[in-house]
């Protein structure tokens, strides 16, 4: 081949086949790339959710298809004291546990943000309650709260002689409720603490230095620098924490099963008890569906009230 020929040479234009043409066409490519994700969402999220919502309008029983009963399940639940009590306790449980988790979690995060010896080791240990399987920690708490064999009772009564009677942690409604909340707080603190710690470490030290030069007290530094800059991550962590707590099941089911006398039923445990052991799938689904508005509200609250952009960036809310 001489030079002129070489210069004039162009790659032979091969006839592209239909597959290549299809892949070059943007809409087709978009559809192709989205299908797996959409498929997963449809099969594992939309379908179960849709089925649950549909079932809540039927009287389906375990092993038997149901018929459409409209709002009957919900009408009954509104008159059912057990259900109303579960709704009330779910909200109370979520609120109390979230406050506890955030107060202690933030405190822990601030401590861990200091220069401590063995910092990374301590941080790893802090995570332990979070990585322990819930059921295991639930069983541990079940023993701690046992009316006859509680380690707490043993120490207080038999070792220290501060009391003469063992604690009855789970036998009466209010102590049982607070015991469960304490267990939930214990489990939830690491998640909050580590997330907030990550947030704290993104705050530039120069801000603190500048504030110190201006003579700001440590409270002022927290109030004016740490708190506002932590807000975005706080909003996200709060949302997740509220959602987890609201939908909690394992702790309550393993420790009290909703007892004594239904005083510690969460909506999730009641939905399971009615739906599976009680075989009334329709009613169980209705209880589960009744959780959705609360979850949506909690999410909206976190995003709009706490996640307000202006406030986060130090502007005034107005």
């Amino acid at each position: 081949m001489n030079q002129a020929e070489a210069l004039a040479w162009v790659a032979p234009r091969t006839q592209s086949n239909w597959l290549q043409r299809l892949l070059d066409w943007k809409p087709a490519l978009v559809i192709l790339c989205l299908t797996p994700a959409l498929g997963l969402l449809l099969v594992f999220l939309t379908y179960p959710l849709g089925l649950g919502i549909w079932m809540s309008f039927t009287d389906t029983q375990l092993g038997k298809p149901g018929v459409w009963v409209g709002l009957e399940n919900f009408q009954y639940l509104l008159t059912d004291r057990v259900f109303l009590n579960a709704v009330w306790f779910t909200i109370f449980y979520t609120a109390a546990a979230t406050i506890g988790k955030f107060a202690l979690g933030l405190w822990l995060a601030l401590l861990l943000n200091q220069h401590l010896p063995f910092k990374s080791l301590i941080r790893a240990i802090i995570l332990l309650p979070w990585i322990t399987p819930t059921v295991l920690s639930a069983i541990a708490f079940w023993w701690i709260y046992d009316p006859q064999f509680s380690i707490v009772s043993y120490v207080v009564v038999d070792v220290l002689h501060w009391r003469t009677k063992y604690f009855d942690f789970l036998g009466t409604p209010w102590p049982a409720r607070w015991s469960l909340i304490a267990a939930n707080v214990w489990r939830g603190i690491p998640f909050v603490a580590i997330s907030l710690l990550a947030g704290l470490q993104t705050i530039s030290p120069s801000l603190y230095e500048a504030a110190m030069l201006d003579g700001a007290s440590s409270w002022q530094r927290f109030r004016r620098i740490t708190a506002p800059l932590l807000m975005p991550i706080l909003a996200v962590v709060l949302t997740f924490s509220v959602l987890f707590t609201f939908a909690d099941f394992q702790l309550v089911y393993a420790i009290t099963r909703g007892g004594p006398i239904n005083s510690t039923h969460l909506m999730a445990t009641l939905a399971f008890q009615r739906g599976i052991p009680g075989a009334a799938l329709g009613e169980g689904a209705a209880i589960a569906v009744a959780m959705i508005p609360f979850l949506v509200l909690a999410t909206l609250f976190s995003y709009f009230a706490i996640g307000n952009r202006k406030w986060q960036q130090g502007g005034s809310d107005e």
Partner: protein, 441 residues
């Protein structure tokens, strides 16, 4: 109820299981009629999957598996058995029934076959054969095995766990009772004295499937109360129930602290630790003592008795029936039926019954002659468990409604509300009536 502390089982259970499961097991002289088994040619290439609740006394699993191995050796049918937690059984059965796939045979809880009756193979041929051969079925076994109101067997009861009173003889004697009381007044007096002497009794009213239902049902039935009448109408709101509630309130003050939060394992633990002198339980509490070499004195001091009859003519107790059922979706119905028949035959059944020292009492009357019941007179109270004349949802049919009312702890919580002082008997019974009407609509 039937739960043994893990420690005690680990310590001694396996040793006992091994010794009881020796091949030279001497079978008792059980009166057996000469009956030809139903002709059930096993399908070629059959394999079986069996699901059953997990064991709480070690031999239950060991001997069950040995019997399965024997079945495979004799028929060439491979069998896979899964033991699942007691609470996990219902969800798994529900999935199998809804999807039409999964285990061929489920050894399930008493109500399960009645929930899924239209998904099950009729087992009348096997049941009638076994009944004829082994002296007939006990009444409770028949109630739970047959579809209500028909003569068709939808399940084969394999055993029943009862819950009579288990008590420490010396402490009951110290409380002034040579013999265990048989009336309400005597029983209350006994519990009061036990408390006074520092050895209180304890009966669960927590959300405990076995123990709490056993105790609450005894309270209700021994006072002549019942959840629904023969026509399936809710009849809990009666003066008998009110009496039972008042009695429960008085009794509660004599118990050890914390029984309102007791789970099924709590009374076992407390009795084993000698914190309580009296409770209601399956044979597992005694089994734990008996298999612990360090507890010989406690074993000798422990005994069983029927709970006081009160106003009832027969023992006001029911039983947790182990109810085997075969799903229609099985490809090997004959093999499944043969499997159940095989497990109920004396060569397999008696070693299992004996190994568990009556943990699952027999549903077939002939097995009452088994040597296990005379080998230890203390377990005699469990012998006729399957002959109890009461069932969950007494006097109505065994149905989805009766199962659901039990699962929602309607009866237990009625008693717990009054015993804890949260409600008056009248309030509690109205609430129970309201809840029960939902299930029996």
């Amino acid at each position: 109820m039937n739960i043994i502390t893990r420690r005690s089982v680990l310590a001694t259970g396996t040793a006992v299981a091994a010794s009881l499961a020796l091949p030279n097991f001497a079978m008792s002289a059980i009166p057996v009629a000469d009956v030809t088994p139903p002709k059930l040619p096993i399908e070629s290439g059959a394999t079986l999957r069996v699901l059953r609740p997990t064991k709480f006394v070690a031999p239950d699993e060991v001997i069950f598996r040995e019997n399965i191995a024997k079945f495979t050796a004799q028929t060439g049918v491979p069998v896979r058995v899964d033991f699942v937690g007691w609470e996990d059984l219902r969800p798994q059965v529900g999935v199998a029934a809804n999807t039409g796939a999964g285990p061929d045979i489920v050894v399930a809880w008493p109500d399960d076959p009645h929930l899924f009756s239209d998904k099950l193979i009729e087992l009348s041929d096997v049941a009638e054969y076994l009944g004829k051969k082994y002296g007939g079925w006990y009444s409770l076994a028949e109630r739970y095995g047959k579809k209500w109101g028909t003569n068709n067997w939808i399940a084969i009861p394999m055993g029943g766990s009862g819950a009579p009173a288990v008590y420490r003889k010396s402490w009951v004697k110290e409380a002034g009772f040579e013999n265990f009381p048989t009336d309400h007044a005597g029983f209350l007096k006994l519990c009061q004295n036990l408390k006074k002497n520092g050895h209180p009794s304890g009966f669960s009213l927590g959300n405990a499937v076995g123990d709490a239902n056993g105790y609450a049902n005894w309270l209700l039935w021994s006072h002549g109360g019942f959840l629904v009448d023969e026509n399936n109408k809710v009849a809990i709101n009666s003066k008998e129930t009110i009496e039972a509630l008042k009695y429960a309130k008085e009794l509660q003050s004599t118990f050890i602290e914390g029984t309102l939060s007791w789970s099924d394992a709590s009374n076992n633990k407390a009795f084993f630790a000698e914190e309580i002198s009296l409770t209601q339980n399956g044979v597992s509490v005694y089994f734990a003592f008996k298999t612990d070499p360090n507890k010989a004195a406690q074993t000798a001091d422990t005994d069983h008795a029927a709970m006081p009859l009160g106003l009832s003519k027969t023992r006001p107790e029911s039983a947790l029936i182990l109810n085997a059922m075969v799903f229609k979706h099985t490809k090997y119905p004959n093999a499944s039926k043969e499997f159940i028949r095989f497990m109920m035959e004396q060569e397999q059944y008696e070693p299992w019954l004996t190994g568990c020292i009556g943990y699952w009492a027999q549903p077939l009357k002939a097995y009452a002659q088994s040597a296990v019941w005379t080998s230890d007179p203390k377990i005699a109270a469990y012998r006729d468990t399957c002959g109890n004349e009461y069932w969950n949802g007494y006097k109505g049919p065994i149905s989805q409604a009766s199962g659901a009312a039990t699962a929602d702890y309607v009866n237990v919580q009625m008693f717990a509300a009054v015993a804890s002082g949260q409600a008056t008997p009248e309030e509690a019974v109205r609430e129970a009536e309201r809840r029960a009407k939902r299930f029996y609509r």
